[in-house]
Amino acid sequence: MAVVVIMPKQGQSVESCIITEWNKNKGDQVKKGEILFAYETDKASFEEEASADGVLLAVFYNTGDEVPVLTNVCVIGEPGESTDAFAPSGSSSVKTEAPEVTATSTKEEVPAEIVATESSNSSSSEAVSPRARILADEEGINLNSVRGSGPNGRIIEQDIQAILAKQPKSTPLAKKKAGQEHLQGSTIGSGLGGSITSKDLTQQNQVSGTDFEIKKLSNIRKLIAKAMHQSLQNSAQLTHHLGADARRMLEWRRKIKKATDGGYPVNITINDMVCYSVIKALKQYPQVNAHFLGDSVKYFNNISLGIAVDTDRGLMVPAIRNAGNLTIQELSNNMRDIAAACRKGAIDPELLSSEAASFTVSNLGNYGVEMFTPVINLPQVGILGVNTIVPRPKDLGDGAYGFVPYIGLSLTYDHQALDGGEATRFLKQIATEIENLDFEL
């Protein structure tokens, strides 16, 4: 009966051994206890003894071969016995395959997708990693507008990089200059492929250095600031511009000048005449003489005209009550008195409330302003800006053209309350009133 000799397992971690020497050859007689071959692990050397008497019938591995443990190495038996059944598959003739190592293929560079964890969605953390903070600073990115994708919503570098990826690239010089001088680039640069160059940089904050002082706002300034800001935020304002032939008004003005020189008590100004015309137009367009209250509109039976007055302490808009009942002389006197009261600070605060007036006129004509977009005093639905008088070419009939003085009118209205047609018709009506102005001296 053939006895097979296996490579012993010398220790838990040993997977294979190397045969260092054969003491017997194939065909040799062997006795139990004789040494067949020597082998070694990476730690030590061993010798394998024959476990039976007989002939060494088969040798499957040669000196120097590495043999997996528990593999058949040789067979001892009686001459003539078959050993084929014992031949291991990986003996000398058959090479053992070394495990394959997958070659690392070069991958295309794809930026990792930004993933937000659940916690980052729900968290309102304002944490910013130092790296992200500095990058944002260098690139002039406002962190308030960045949503963090890091753990617990922390803003991390990739969040800033994502924003940068959407912006045009900057040249290195532009980046450096922007960082050092606190400049920022326009959205599209003038460099290659729209990149921002140092020339495209603008001052982020022109007031820099230490040459400034900080003053608290006066109360009136605070009120104006709040009212103006709220006005623009809370209404749908737009402005129409239109000119009115001013020849008749200027003619009246000459007459009045002459009359006052002769002792006439009331010096009626162009502004008085414009306001008088506005009052007349308002009577025909009650929907402009109103307050817009969101879900309702308040229409006024009388007219309370707000007039913008420039004072040392800021803009004031006192109201002329019952303006619809006044003669132009009364209106003129009233306006003069009230403006004086404003400048002296003696005005009744009641009259300054934006709710005290039903419509407002702001005249910048004296300063030569040709066109502007006045801001509505909410909840009023409109405001008229009065501009300077400029000569304009006009068809005088029969193919003749001449220069005619025109006064510019800029009506800002709240589109929530009025439509463009109504507003335009109202503005046109003011022009008509100006062009057909009439009153008694």
Binding site: S13, E15, S16, C17, I18, E40, T41, D42, K43, A44, E66, T96, A98, P99, E100, V101, A103, K107, V110, A112, E113, V115, A116, T117, S120, S129, P130, R131, A132, I134, S149, G150, P151, N152, R154, I156, E157, Q158
Partner: protein, 822 residues
Amino acid sequence: MPKVQFIDPSLARKASEITFKPIPVNQYAKTIAQEKDNFSNDDLVRIYHDMVVIREFETMLNLIKTTGEYSGVPYDHPGPAHLSAGQEAAAVGMAYLLDVEDFIFGSHRSHGEILAKGLSAIQKLSDADLMQIMETFFNGTVLNVVKKDFKGTTKELGRRFLIYGTLAEIFARETGFNKGLGGSMHAFFTPFGVYPNNAIVGGSGDISVGAALYKKVNRKPGMVVANIGDASMACGPVWEGLSFASMDQFNELWEGDMKGGLPVIFNVMNNQYGMGGQTCGETMGFGKVARIGAGVNPDQMHAERVDGYNPLAVIDAYRRKRKLIEEKKGPILLEVLTYRYSGHSPSDASSYRSKEEIEAWQAQDSIATFGHNIVAEKITTQQELDSIWAGIKEIMVEMLKLSINDEVSPRMDIKQRPEQIGEMIFSNQSVDKMDDRVPEVNHPMEENPRVIQISKKERFAFDAEGKPFSKMKQYQLRDGIFDAIVDRFYKDPTLIAYGEENRDWGGAFAVYRGLTEALPYNRLFNSPISEASIIGTAIGYAMCGGRVIPEIMYCDFLGRCGDEVFNQLPKWQAMSGNMLKMPVVMRVSVGSKYGAQHSQDWTSLVAHIPGLKVVFPVTPYDAKGLMNSALQGTDPVIFFESQRVYDIGEQFHKVGVPEGYYEIPFGESDIKKEGKDITILTIGATLYRALDAAKILEEKYNMSAEVIDARSLVPFNYEQVIASVKKTGRIIISGDATSRGSFLNELARNITELAFDYLDAPPVVVGSRNWITPAYELEEAFFPQPDWFIDAIHEKIVPLKGHISNQNFSDSEQIRRAKLGV
């Protein structure tokens, strides 16, 4: 272990009994008249003189501590003073016959031994040699102080030098024997054969054995005396020193002139108390220390008790013991009976002993008795003795004044040179060999079977197609360590290596396979399984001038040599004022698979201790290069190896591990894989799991990781890591140490500080759990695994699309675990 020693069961099992020889106790009975052949009159007077020097020195310190002045010279000494008044005859008797090249080691109470051995050496040195020692020691700094305006003889100058150098050291002056860095409990002066005294009880018990080993292995003249106290006989390291010193192999296996015992005397100064504990009657059971010798070896260590109150009795014992040492019959145990008058320290109220007892011993005072006897024998007169004492008092006053004078005896100027102590922590030298002899080997290196075997191996793990060679054919990490060590064995004749199963077996992890064939026993041998003696003797061996590789088989056994690794190995270079070098490369193997007491990574423990260099290579290239650096240096290196990777081939250094000599500098980390999105810094074999994690990151999450192997812990250069973090903004620091208090946190803290502005997330530490190491089958729950890295990134650094974590790295979990202490 050795095959030549056959353990015959028939003999081993035979009935018999162990017998003991009587142990002599105070057998000396000679009179001075009977000793006249051995001592001249001058010799006897000198014995008296030397005892008085010690008495007066200790009296001076006692008065300074208790009254703030000595002979009208006021001084405040806030440091320790463990005094030995009463023990003078024991010290002088011990030192009297010793030659200059005989070394003594001591304890915290060793002023007397320093002075006795110093005075003995001064007596034996020629004037020229003495002068040369004094002139060259710290470039004459100490000598210059005592020779100013001094007109006496060279020997008198030598005595001033000795007293001043010791006193200035006690007072922490830069002009002291150890620049003031040793102090009262550690002062020493090697040119006179006075080796370190040790403030840890029994500390010299194993270190001195290493010194004796040095003398034996390197054929240096002289013997070694370990002066330890009676109470130290309970200390484990002392027993380990005894066991190591009495190994059979010195007589049974070591060959030629190396055959024979170690030249060491354990000189137990039995002053009857360990602090306040009375060793005879209270805290020990030996009755007399000499009894212990009977339990150690068949020679009973030639143990005896001698009367340490009579200097001539002690000298007589040394005359007999010295002969035994010369006949290579060491080790020897000598109990020298004595008594200390002062307390353990000046704050000791002696509440544990009676006034009567102290007075009874004082009534038999050794100095008074000896003085009386030599006057009675007409060797000298009382007047002469009185004038000797007066002269010594005068010198003491003068040396005290010098040593407390801030101008001639300044302290180290830490303000002027704030890094002065730091500069002494390491010696940082590069030395091929510690001695010039031809190294003793058994055959040329190229004939060594292991060297031949390694030469056939593949020095890079992969073939040209990138397929790995089989493990057996790869040049493994253990081969890299072997390469460097065998090379040094053929270069440095002083190099020796030992530990458990180092010879024959070749080390439990086969690193030393082949070394047994190359080296004689005296260069490679097996130690007892006693780690304190393995490291303690290595310290003594290196301290005397040899290079040594002690091995600790499992990192977990570090605790067994805690004092040696924490208190001795790291301290002596700086505590000697850089007089001593410590070229000890301590190999420590970190286990796995073997559960709670065989699988721990304790790199952090040693990294915490100043004065140790700590490296942990995990590739064959790094292991060879760092071992070369360790063996070329002069500093203690704790060289960690991982049992996970002894068989790993070189996967990174593409040209393969060089066959020639090369060094990898300590402190430099190595980038094993470049990347740009995240840095992973690892200590130890965790590297390979980090690389697996890097692969997952690349394949599944399109994230490229840069993997850096720290390689060294102490020293550590942060520059490369910081540069990487500047690039990636993110870092994980990982190792197999349990994470609480580990060096991983030290790295994380420094990286946070040094790269704060570049960080996109806090550095994350991925260490092992703060548990016991479980069984191999459960290790995945304990040691960092590749998926832990992914989980840590997902939860702490940047969320990864579609990733579901298995490990909980959340803040709340971190707090919960800390709260529970796990």
